[in-house]
Amino acid sequence: MSGFNKVVTSYEEALAGFTDNMTVMVGGFGLCGIPEGLIEQVNKLGSTGLTAISNNAGVDGFGLGKWLEKRQISTMIGSYVGENELFEKLLLSGEMEVILTPQGTLAEKIRAGGAGIPAFFTATGYGTQVADGKETREIDGRNYVLEPSLTADFALVKAWKADTMGNLIFRKTAMNFNPMMATAGKITVVEVEEIVEAGELDPNYIHTPGIYVQRVIKGNFEKRIEQRTIKPSSEKE
């Protein structure tokens, strides 16, 4: 199925057409389920003026933290700064514009963008600074905020397995923002742990149908753990 073979073999090819000032979504929650090699490649490209949409911005020196170090992001749309000191510094100094967005609203804005819904109402953030400048409305006695959807020039997604046609499955909580972002990129590039032949994934359990995916590349993942929490050895089941 030549027309449906989405596999590329180099990161250059995976990010062909990626330029300065683009809007780019990056999957992952913390460092879990991030497209490590694609992030690295954008860092190598050195593209600047990016609007990055991602729940977090990695940690100092890893994940999107690398884009911060190189000052590649001019606007960051995310929900959590967390323990990323450089992020907090760039935010407080105003060097980088940061649009803090509630996590669920962020997820839904991306899902809406991919699904052709330009805006929706949500109760989240009503009465807070998140609602500043946005339309609000009372519906059936509750107050809601109108939230516009999000799309991107590129969506950089991490999946567990892809078939050659771009059908995807994710693994455990490494799924997080990846499926919605896959739907919301004009060009969706997916970095996976394993590429299988079409037909090897059960059609009944595909998380993201290939129609959303333009390119697939096999990556090598470090899978760094942010909070390594282990059951104390004294504790028994």
Binding site: G82, A107, E108, Y126, K172, N176, R228
Partner: protein, 218 residues
């Protein structure tokens, strides 16, 4: 005597019912899981995309693809399910979670809560907290009654940027279990050995005290 962090968690756990789906925030709320009564089952929801969060893994079972909303490595219990963050917040916003427990910097008598930002000092981002307070019918806030300088965090009106407006109904501190209704805090229970006057002294908000206020029992 003021409750310990674990005692606050124990008191919260008494509000849990068998078969509850529960979302526990970071900090004291996390401890609640340790005090669910033996004869009850709860399923913990983690907003990154897990229903049925289990205990921490061992060195052998640790999996970087399995973390909770606090980014800690965890396990999944029997009957768990993984899903996207969009689905996760559909659950939360849609009111499907039975109980949400989370911390706060301040709460006020209008039911507003501030928990995510101290301007110029602390910017961590709201994460899922705004969705949780907007989505849950049943929320318990756990927090300290006042800061270390004795300045109350139980206020007439929050001073910090809000996480949500008019959404909180129950608060448990190291001193008291209070309900918010009709524009005031209502004292329901005292920590053992803590007097109504002590609570009153550390409460800036209007505090309604109706009759004898029982001590918490554990």
């Amino acid at each position: 005597m003021a409750l310990t962090r674990d005692q606050i968690a124990m008191r919260v756990a008494q509000e849990i019912q068998d078969g509850y789906y529960v979302n526990l925030g970071i900090g004291i709320p996390t401890l609640v899981a340790n005090y669910v009564p033996e004869d009850m089952d709860v399923m913990l929801q983690s907003e990154n995309g897990l229903l049925g969060m289990g205990e921490f893994p061992t060195e052998e079972t640790i999996d970087p693809d399995l973390i909770n909303a606090g980014k800690q490595t965890v396990t999944a219990v029997t009957g768990a399910a993984y899903f996207s963050s969009a689905e996760s917040f559909a659950m939360i916003r849609g009111g499907h979670v039975d109980l949400t427990v989370l911390g706060a910097f301040e709460v006020d008598q209008e039911g507003s809560i501030a928990s995510w930002m101290i301007p110029g000092k602390l910017v961590k981002g709201m994460g899922g907290a705004m969705d949780l307070v907007a989505g849950a019918e049943n929320i318990i806030v756990t927090m300290t009654h006042a800061n270390k300088h004795g300045v109350s965090k139980i206020l007439k009106k929050c001073t910090l940027p809000l996480t949500g407006a008019n959404c909180i109904k129950r608060v448990i501190t190291e001193l008291a279990f209070m309900e918010i209704k009709n524009g005031a805090f209502h004292l329901l229970e005292r920590a053992p050995g803590v007097s109504v006057e002590e609570i009153q002294a550390l409460t800036e908000a209007d505090l309604v005290v109706n009759g004898d206020i029982p001590e918490m029992t554990f």
